[in-house]
Symmetry: C2
Subunit: 425 residues, 2 copies
Amino acid sequence: MGARAGIVVTGTEVLTGRVTDRNGPWLAEQLRRLGLDVGQVVVVGDRPEDLHSALAYLSATNDLVLTSGGLGPTADDLTAQVVGDFCGRESAVDEELADRIGAIVDRLMARRGWAVDAEATREGTRKQARVPAGALVLEPVGTAPGLVVPPAQGDGPPVVVLPGPPTELQAMWPAALAAAPVRAVLDRAEELRQDTLRLWGTPESELAATLRRVDDQLAGLEITTCLRDGELEIVTRYAPAAGAAYQRLVDAVRADFGGTLVSEGPDVDTLVADALGSRGLTVATAESCTGGQLVARLIDRPGASAWVPGGVVSYSNTAKQELLGVSAQTLATVGAVSPEVARQLADGARSRFGADVGIGVTGIAGPGGGSPDKPVGTVHLCAVGPDGVVTRSLVVPGDRAAFRKRTVTVGMHLLRSLLLGGPPA
Amino acid sequence: MGARAGIVVTGTEVLTGRVTDRNGPWLAEQLRRLGLDVGQVVVVGDRPEDLHSALAYLSATNDLVLTSGGLGPTADDLTAQVVGDFCGRESAVDEELADRIGAIVDRLMARRGWAVDAEATREGTRKQARVPAGALVLEPVGTAPGLVVPPAQGDGPPVVVLPGPPTELQAMWPAALAAAPVRAVLDRAEELRQDTLRLWGTPESELAATLRRVDDQLAGLEITTCLRDGELEIVTRYAPAAGAAYQRLVDAVRADFGGTLVSEGPDVDTLVADALGSRGLTVATAESCTGGQLVARLIDRPGASAWVPGGVVSYSNTAKQELLGVSAQTLATVGAVSPEVARQLADGARSRFGADVGIGVTGIAGPGGGSPDKPVGTVHLCAVGPDGVVTRSLVVPGDRAAFRKRTVTVGMHLLRSLLLGGPPA
């Protein structure tokens, strides 16, 4: 095992789930690429004693500790102060830094057209400019400077203090990596590869049986499996020396699960985007129960405007008829939640947007709207393209949010099977 | 301070960000309502030594420890075993429990129509049925049983072991609360209130000045402020005895920020949904750059079909014209990203869906597509309703994901200001 890092994410808003942390995972992936394994991400609120004990916990087993958040101008933003105390370093206002932050705040307020209370701004600015003695300042990207704080006694890991807003943290990252105490840790890092196999339609217990069977050939691999939204991911981390063992794992999975192995790397979003891109095809959507999440997922990718002309979310039957040409008679005889309407939605999306591929989704997300023969969770999907038609009907367990997420993933696999073949959605 | 709890979320897929943790925040909120303050959420991968040290860290300062995940049938699912070891309790297979799990797995496989390898299933089942001596079994909701494990020596907190899938964890929660060791902790809990004030258009530094000014009147309040997507949240936790102090905080915020105070509780989604519901109005969307995220956010709420007939995502100019009636001449003269097109999108959404309110969004999410006079981040929004028209034009900083998220929030505030007045979006 090479060098390791631990991450503290601060903020009561993260701890209580009002804000979803994006920094822990982003930092973990950046560090992994640099060969630093992340053992723990700790989320703490805005209490100094909790941050202090988190730093102690992570310092015990890691070569580098990183914090995100708590660098704002309000009194609950305490990270710089607490890290300084933890590292045994007195903090003081860096007057030149305070001036630089002040200039940034003035520009920002002017751009937003907000009135500024100069005195309030100045107090906040001076708070943000407090720097522990001997710490390296990372210049602000937003208004908050970051820090690299070496331990006071020369033992323990250096602590990298980064701002909470993901855009600021990411923009500051290169400066953090360039700091001498961080470089010294990176010099001890070893390459750590990560590769992923993806199955669609294999239960986790069968995969477990295969892994047990070939276990003695897999030394040096750290394998984790994760079933979500019907997709079984096998993620393996390994040093380059274990490359042959990884190949044996791939061979075993191919041999036992060739029929459900959809990818030896890229996720289904990438498979679909690449298939559309390489064949110059476009796709349009017509959704009811997923309410725009399918088209939003397709459009998540930069450049999606080249292959997604658009989509319609048609919750009401009137919208299904008028915007997508679904037949009133079909709605009257088999109902909106039916394979027939899914097909007409797909056809409608395709023709209204002039797209090569159309996909239709109709179902009951709940909690209301179910009936004995069409329970909550019932959903029908259909994708139509130049090469044919694929369909899927199922009942998705779980709540409204789980239903929508799972159904969107099934929709992505429907497009994948239409464009690339492989296991049916 | 009353009783406290700490949470461990296990799983390399969470640690590396492939899966977003929903359990930590959910558990934190449930525990808060029961009067148990959550100090830390720790995310660890699937390594036993990391889970063990996380348990030690959390046990040192908490009255209750909870874990989620790591109860599956594969070899990397180690939580039950490690918790048993940590609490000094030997684990052994509970044969009757193994039979019950086996029956569940058989039913599940049959329903999915998956072929089952009986031997593989049995090994996984027996692994899932290993129970530390003296632990209480929480009956499986999916296939994995939960556990309540008392400490071996009578000191240290009990550990509640819960499954990773949020639906299973939530369904198992009442059984966990009913367990005697958990009830004993809850008996020591004290009521902990949480209330939220929301400002739209006030910089954090000005709020900080107000909080400093009235600081001596706010004893007993734990105040955190969080600026995101332009919204400034003030979340306060306090014991009932500090109710008068909370009222003083509300008065101070009302006095200083009456013009930007949009809510003394509900979030903007609730404000908009309630305003539509109480007036019996419907809303339809026409989005380009936000790609369906606005309509998806409106539809996130159960029952949304009553007030959202649907929306159109029109990425291409052709779709804007044909599906929403945007004028070809407007597109040719001022371009798709313009206040004029935002207005026509809003009108088009309103008329095509026969909705009372229409909202249009057009902008450049990036990374491509910008120009000197319309840089990446440029966006125009317009909402039209029975009482008038509101608009907003701005340049949003940050990457594609940040742009879309922020723009959707501005769209929600545009609807809020159209329906309820208050500070402009």
